[in-house]
Symmetry: C2
Subunit: 331 residues, 2 copies
């Protein structure tokens, strides 16, 4: 197999997070389910923003956060995603590139603005996301540069992409190119409601085109329509090569073939903002995997990165994760 | 005198802060003086941004921060400043209004984009500001709504406005209207380099049109071209009705007529980001003044607000300052 140019190519919705602290009563008033992501149209976005308190803008997007985390570990990361040629598009692009991620996707010059997700952080640190997809709707199969896919060890994609038919096509094209080039593919199931929307397609995808599946407890039990984590875990074992199942403070379970391993969560004194926990877990895990570490070790790197990102506002690492991992004796 | 509609009208450069943590070596490489504000053109802004790491966008602008702080205390605040009709202009406008500040200035529809300040925060918590004034250059005397000025107890303005002739005219017009309506005027000297650029005008202004002067040690000693704080303090005593001189962790000195008082700083465990300390001090002080509290008490409210803002990134309060002050026994 030829040399790779990238360790991980991440593909996802390119989003700037608009973060505000709210009380639980704000969620109730807006009929929002805590911890979930919902898609909103521009009018709802304007209404919600008008009702929200002062906010902070930070680059986000699930796969974008993973790419940033991977680069922070020292991994070679690339990203495909669609922003518009506007100020928030500049912000998103700058932040990813400044982190060392290769991001060359063509920007949209017409159509809706760069995507925003209004992320409401309650006093318990839990986040509830309201995403206006904006320019993300212009991500299509044409944005998948086959040379980059073929020269990435792993192509990692968000389940969220399936919410738009064109982005779903882009996802499928990337998976096909990666597989044909003898590379690995990975998916995060993104959100239990997202799984609910695309259950059958996700199952077919995982069985046929994906090597590594990342899911939290709500997502994997939604996928297999069971309330029992252990039975979902066993179903996942049969369906994919590696399943990485995260369970918040209960750590994660890795399932591959006959082998199962449980790795504890990294200790955290106080959860300030849970946004990005899963994304950064994936970053650490994928960094470990592409540097040929044992799966348990990969999970410990993931747990370390997830623990860092939930101690502050925003879903991108605030410290150099390579140094952080070295101090923790993991690199 | 007629009833007032606002406690404080704040007038300043409307700026979105772009905050990034940097090492001291970054300042050295870019030949930047720690703690200072410099004005940069669009090309320099692009270069600096290209060289900076990932950032966070938070609404800022000195007088904007003061207005936000005042509203957080429960004061009736209005703001005049110029943003463009663009995404960062939306962000700035939303954040001020969401905090409860009345902000109705017409937006620029042409010309440069909404202003940004690249704020580099070093590990010691000190901040170094690089401001691209953008749309602020379109703030003119025509933006001064005389009805709002005349119905505000105090009109508070940034010294930074003097860096642009049109904004300086706006400042002078507002001061004139306020005085003619029997209202009070206040200025912050903003930055010692700014004082250096406008020393003679500032002195004339303070002697003739300003009731309350806010300055830190570097600014007041620059104004009177002395290295001795005490002699600067005595010069200020002769030049204005109330001088409020802040000295970071050494607290502040209030000078009025024959009376002098020193109020200690509010304790802070760790300075995360000094941005906005002076602005929030002014917010607390002005809130106290417009609710007819003793000057020492005003200073304690200022110290409390300054202490809050330096414990986190960004120059706007993260908590409700009225509640915070009540818990501290100050309201």
């Amino acid at each position: 197999m030829t040399e790779t140019r990238f360790d991980v190519l991440c593909i996802g919705n390119a989003i700037v997070d608009v973060l505000a602290r709210v009380e639980d009563s704000f969620l109730a008033r807006h009929d929002l389910t805590k911890g979930m992501m919902r898609l909103i149209d521009e009018q709802t976005a304007d209404q919600l923003y008008g009702d929200m308190g002062p906010a902070i803008e930070i680059s986000g997007g699930s796969a974008g956060n993973t790419a940033a985390g991977l680069a922070s570990f020292g991994g070679r990361a690339a990203y495909f995603g669609k922003v518009k040629n506007d100020q928030l598009g500049d912000v998103f692009t700058h932040d990813l590139r400044a982190q060392g991620v290769t991001f060359e996707s063509m920007r949209a010059t017409a159509g809706p603005a760069t995507a925003r997700s209004f992320i409401l952080v309650t006093p318990d640190g839990e986040r509830t996301m309201n995403t206006f997809l904006g320019a993300c709707v212009n991500l299509t199969a044409a944005d998948i540069d086959p040379a980059v896919v073929a020269s990435s060890q792993i192509t990692y994609m968000e389940g969220y992409l399936w919410d738009r038919p064109e982005a779903k096509e882009a996802f499928q094209r990337a998976a096909k190119i990666a597989r044909e080039a003898g590379r690995k593919t990975a998916i995060t199931l993104s959100d239990s409601f997202c799984v609910d929307r695309h259950r059958d397609s996700f199952l077919e995808l995982i069985r046929n085109q994906i090597d590594i599946v990342f899911a939290n407890e709500a997502e994997i039990t939604s996928l297999y329509q069971t309330s029992d984590f252990d039975s979902a875990r066993e179903r996942a074992r049969g369906d994919c090569e590696i399943a990485v199942l995260t369970r918040s403070e209960r750590g994660c379970v890795i399932v591959t073939g006959e082998w199962t391993s449980t790795v504890p969560a990294h200790p955290v004194s106080k959860v300030v903002d849970a946004t990005g926990a899963g994304d950064l877990f994936a970053a650490g895990f994928l960094y470990g995997l592409t540097t040929h570490r044992a799966l348990d070790h990969c999970a410990r790197l993931g747990a370390l990165a997830a623990a860092e990102v939930i101690t502050h506002l925003g879903a991108r690492p605030e410290m150099n994760l390579a140094e952080h991992a070295r101090r923790a004796g993991l690199l």
